[in-house]
């Protein structure tokens, strides 16, 4: 590889990393439930990714690579800190009050609280596929498990979120499509 093309590779690496940061950070916030912790996690991920950039194969999925680093970092910190991070019902919920202004509506706060009550394996699965934009196969690779495992975790996560939140969505999103039909039928019971 020539010097020039190496410089180009470096530029592309930095550009692609920058482009992935908002998504990566949203993943970190969703995973940890805390902005401060999420930003520290993102910072650690940037440092790690930078140090390992020679291991990154240009042209492969930068986003998936960064998410994998962040996820590994999260679980490694979780193991080090013990229950401080691993207790979604206690600490996560208590920390909720720290940044309420960061979520415009009560609805988002409710959803955040509900998300934090999920076991982390279910939480990461539903986030990666439902929000971060990964295919089941990519999510399985990031989490180091089978595609079927990802699907069943997502399924359990959805059921649990429905349980926690009730089925209040149709009120918040307006009576459209299936939601309206469900509401009507509910009243007919």
């Amino acid at each position: 590889m020539t010097e020039e093309s190496q410089a180009e590779v470096d530029r592309n690496f930095k550009r692609d990393m920058l482009a992935a940061l908002p998504n990566l950070r949203a993943f970190a916030v969703s995973l940890t439930g805390r902005h401060h912790m999420a930003d520290d996690l993102v910072q650690d991920t940037i440092m790690k990714a930078w140090a390992k950039q020679n291991h990154f194969e240009p042209g492969t999925n930068m986003k998936a690579w960064l998410f994998t680093i962040l996820r590994n970092e999260f679980y490694s910190q979780m193991r080090k800190r013990g229950r401080e991070v691993g207790d979604p019902d206690g600490v996560f919920t208590a920390q909720m009050a720290v940044h309420p202004q960061q979520y415009g509506s009560m609805d988002l706060q409710d959803f955040k609280k509900a998300l934090e009550q999920l076991p982390s394996d279910q939480r990461e699965a539903i986030i990666l596929v439902g929000a971060s934009g990964f295919a089941y196969e990519e999510a399985a690779e990031i989490c180091g498990c089978a595609v079927g495992t990802i699907k069943s975790r997502i399924n359990r996560a959805r059921n649990r979120l429905q349980e926690i939140l009730g089925v209040s969505g149709e009120g918040d999103y307006g009576p459209e499509g299936n939601d309206a039909a469900v509401t009507k039928r509910a009243f007919a019971v």
């Binding site: 950070r25 910072q43 019971v189």
Partner: protein, 90 residues
């Protein structure tokens, strides 16, 4: 938006039982179910996620990337020292 608690109880209870009923109907892949309930959860998840994404990239990360870039240029060849010095500065 507020509703009488009774409204919620009725809707919640009825839909929960409908949900159970649907699960017993032998549907295999709930994750792909196009039904309204799952759609709502998905929509709320994306709304929450997007609200964080739209906060953009905090300055500290842009500064960090710049420092890493500079440090790398300055200290090419020193390898591992680059990261340590950047972290100390940050």
């Amino acid at each position: 938006m507020t509703y009488a608690p009774f409204y919620w109880q009725v809707v919640h209870k009825a839909q929960k039982s409908m949900n159970n009923h649907r699960d017993m109907s032998g549907r295999q892949d709930g994750a792909n179910a196009p039904d309204g309930l799952h759609h709502t959860i998905s929509a709320r998840l994306r709304q929450f996620y997007n609200s964080v994404q739209e906060e953009g990239i905090p300055d500290r990360f842009l500064q960090l990337l710049e420092k890493l870039d500079e440090a790398e240029k300055r200290a090419s060849g020193e390898g591992g020292h680059v990261q340590a010095s950047v972290r100390d500065q940050a």
